[in-house]
Subunit: 165 residues, 2 copies
DNA sequence: GCACACTCTCTCGACGTCAAGACAGTCGAC
DNA sequence: GTCGACTGTCTTGACGTCGAGAGAGTGTGC
């Protein structure tokens, strides 16, 4: 089945036959799919009264395991936002009682962000909802295709995630 | 090579062994990769004094072919933003002299957005820059792998692009 | 012809993000 | 010890996006 990127690529080949636009076949699909996923996630989370950004932070802490705490800096690398944004997010989550700030005992510049019990429950509930939705989206693909796709994507993400950039 | 999503999935399997988190292997990579690409694009465009959102609009018009004009509504579906955002974008691009608004002769509610000569030049220059950068990112993959990846992604994007939603 | 549902664009206010820089605390070289 | 470069977090102001809804215009069924 044709998608918007097929139309986009065909248009470029007509307008700029001198250029090789093959990279768009992969990377424009990644960008567009991510936007579609954002919208879908926003909808799925609204049932749990959570915003996507809240989910991102709460689940990062949940994944850390007991006692469910990370520094703001560690949260940055997991969520790919800037430090100012993370300060703001932590403020708002703390105001809602889903996380709390504690001084880092081993570094007085530092802070630890800890999930409250309610924050943990919300993280668990919304993860289940997200997985259900994602399974529906991936229903298009066989198990083997999903695994193939994951492996190819890993080759693209690994350099970003490992070389500090 | 391992990436951040491998670590994320391993953490979930440890913390929530009762859940099947396999969907994250694909979709978390898509979301994270898109964020990395956004950052890289922002950097690449800054050489041409363009923002990513400006690029998106100008190139949509450029692709339309002579006389390089589309309605705001057509631009919405191509760029995946809301109508309020598009009005704002067109305003700013018009103020910079890269596009102009014309009344739609066949529908008096409507408007046509047309690329100026300068807008067209900027679109052409920045596309070349973007493709160069994207080729570097995709250097990890063979031609066959890129084509495989594009085909798998198409299966995921096509439902979003074709079923209105 | 007329009413009514629909389409298209724009307006408005709230919100989240970013970039740049400030500030306190840390740590190695000497 | 102490100086200086570095690190981790927070502050600030500008900016772009969103959602909801308003207003003008269209066109179909009757």
């Amino acid at each position: 089945m044709e998608d918007e990127v097929d139309r986009l690529v065909a248009a470029w080949r007509r307008e700029r036959p001198d250029l090789d636009v093959e990279p768009l076949e992969v990377l424009s699909r990644v960008s567009r799919l991510a936007r579609h996923l954002d919208r879908a996630r926003r909808l799925a989370f609204s049932e749990h009264h959570l915003e996507p950004w809240e989910f991102d932070v709460l689940t990062a802490l949940r994944r850390a395991g007991s006692p469910y705490q990370l520094s703001p800096g560690q949260l940055l690398t997991q969520t790919l936002v800037t430090s100012g944004t993370m300060t703001n997010r932590i403020d708002r989550l703390a105001k809602k009682g889903l996380v709390e700030r504690l001084p880092d005992p081993s570094d007085r510049r530092g802070v630890l962000v800890r999930l409250t019990d309610e924050g943990r429950d919300r993280a668990d509930q919304s993860l289940a909802g997200l997985l259900e939705q994602e399974r529906a989206i991936l229903g298009e693909l066989s198990r083997a295709q999903r695994s193939e796709l994951a492996a190819l994507l890993r080759q693209l993400t690994a350099p970003f995630d490992n070389i500090p950039g």
